[in-house]
């Protein structure tokens, strides 16, 4: 009894410390984003100008949208390397449709369908081909889509022209923000609804948490996996619409290294690379971090290569934070066992 009384405060203190550390890790990415904004604002007065902020949102829109799709795949312990080429192919197909029909609806539907179909190919190829890891399947479609986009555009690096409804997304609208930015907000809201409110989303988290347990609990694991690649492809298609809207063109060269930007966004935003943890907010925060870093370095005339170095360093930090979280959780578990 005296022994227990002595131990209680210290155990309680340690537990509070643990909980505080875990909580800090959870809000870490947001704190880093705030820090980045503060530093950028101090480095140049141009940063906080409304025009510049609107510019950051416009430039981040594509990464954010595609990262939201990537987030679903990473939740299931997967990865989608094809999103950049997928987006390029979608813009080219949209451009080809535009050549024959000046219809916004047709062009947009063509881009979305192209993106989703590539996603379906990724998911079906991975699951039914029994490939060891989605890395391989999506690496293959990365190559195939880029090649197909170049072939279909027959040597044109850019095809000018988009229907007015698509170009509208690149126009500036409410609060001086590009109309496309509001598409991102809508996509994020829908994605959050799927993830948090729907059975589908719960199954995605379950498959990411433990695929074998998911199978035993009667969840259609293969279908869930395929659906996440379709979502990712669809988001790449939406990204294609946004990019074509902003540039008024399509190009087989669009989306270069977009797979790295979106994976980086999800990871530095705070989702776990090991699957099962993360939400739309992580993808958005991560995309904004990348946008802010690029913008601030540009405004300060820093060499473009430093952006890549900075983002690389933050990725290492983010993954290290994920590892640390795992260790703290193990400590919390042993503490529970000791108490009960």
């Amino acid at each position: 009894m005296p022994n227990g009384a002595q131990n209680l405060p210290s155990v309680g203190g340690r537990r509070m410390g643990l909980n505080a550390s875990l909580g800090l890790l959870n809000v870490g990415p947001v704190l880093i984003l705030v820090l980045l904004v503060a530093v950028s604002a101090m480095s140049t007065s141009a940063f906080l100008r409304p025009v510049n902020l609107a510019n950051i949102f416009a430039q981040t829109a594509v990464i954010a949208t595609v990262a939201i799709g990537q987030q679903f795949v990473i939740l299931t312990r997967g990865i989608d390397l094809s999103v950049g080429s997928n987006l390029a192919l979608a813009t080219v197909i949209g451009g080809l449709v535009y050549k024959s029909w000046d219809s916004s609806v047709l062009v947009i539907l063509a881009m979305l369908a192209s993106g989703a179909l590539v996603g379906l190919a990724n998911g079906a190829g991975y699951v039914f081909g029994r490939l060891p890891h989605p890395f391989i399947m999506t690496l293959a479609t990365l190559s195939v889509c880029r090649g197909l986009a170049l072939e279909l555009s027959v040597g044109h690096t850019t095809m000018r022209g988009m229907p007015s409804g698509v170009q509208f997304l690149g126009d500036s609208g409410l609060f001086g923000l590009d109309n496309g930015v509001f598409i991102v907000v809508a996509v994020a809201a829908l994605a959050a609804m799927v993830a948090r409110r729907m059975v589908w989303g719960r199954w995605i988290y379950a498959v990411g948490g433990d695929p074998q347990a998911a199978r035993r609990m009667g969840i259609p694991v293969n279908g869930v996996l395929i659906s996440t690649y379709v979502l990712s492809g669809l988001c790449a298609g939406i990204g294609a619409v946004l990019l074509s809207g902003r540039t008024g063109a399509s190009s087989p060269l669009y989306g270069d290294l977009l797979e790295l930007d979106t994976i980086a966004a999800v990871i530095i935003g705070g989702a776990s690379f090991l699957g099962g943890r993360g939400h739309v907010g992580h993808a958005l925060v991560g995309a904004l971090m990348i946008g802010v870093i690029r913008n601030a370095l540009n405004l300060n005339n820093v060499d473009v290569y430093f952006q890549m170095i900075a983002i690389g360093l933050i990725i290492v930090l983010a993954v290290e934070a994920d590892v640390l979280r795992g260790r703290l959780e193990r400590q919390a578990r042993t503490m529970q066992a000791a108490q009960s």
Binding site: V199, R202, W203, M217, Q336, S340
Partner: protein, 254 residues
Amino acid sequence: MSAPQTAPVLVVRGVHKHFGAIHALKGVDLVARRGEVLALLGDNGAGKSTLIKCVSGLYAPDSGEILLDGEAAALSSPAAARRAGIETVYQDLALFDNLTPAQNFYCGREVAVPAWLPAPLRFLRRRTMDREAASVVERLKVSLPSLDAPVALMSGGQRQAIAVARASVFARKLVILDEPTAALGLRESRKVLDLIERLRADGNAIILITHNMEHVIALADMAVVLRQGRKVGELKPSAASQREMVSLIVGAEH
């Protein structure tokens, strides 16, 4: 036990299972009754897990029959077995570390609306599930640090209790527990055994796989011993029959 025996919930009759050249089950029979704990004993490789996996829908037996309440049961998948009222607590628990206890309880059979939509597109009734889960936890006297925290943060005993409680939410006929105390300390084991007793009192039939003879004697109403894929004994566990159980398990003559 002195009362007339209740009708069996589960009857396994003459089940065979091969894996290539290995004959894992050689015509095994088994009967489980409501309100009884049946201990399934045997050394490693005796066929306990294979038999259990046949009943919980993971394996299809090559021959023989499995009856639930006297009718042939279609246990083609774990989901089908669960629908038929058979719940399994796996040795590795099959919990989702990233989900809360309530989310774990309902994973794969969420309470969701509207019914006319395909299951994945339905909307979760999160409050209903949280409330139900809380009342189960309360009824089974499981003590958890929080119902909102992911299971990753909980101890081995708490996780085991969550897995058993999950089984109890949905079990209508049979609960199978595969070595539920193997990874636990003394106090945590005791709590899980209490939980099993409560499941039995609720009228469930229970199949318990364990290597711990003390637990068998304390808890089981009947014990079945497997060796090399065959049933080699069926007896009432007691302190007096412990030697006999052990020699049946290891196959020693005496």
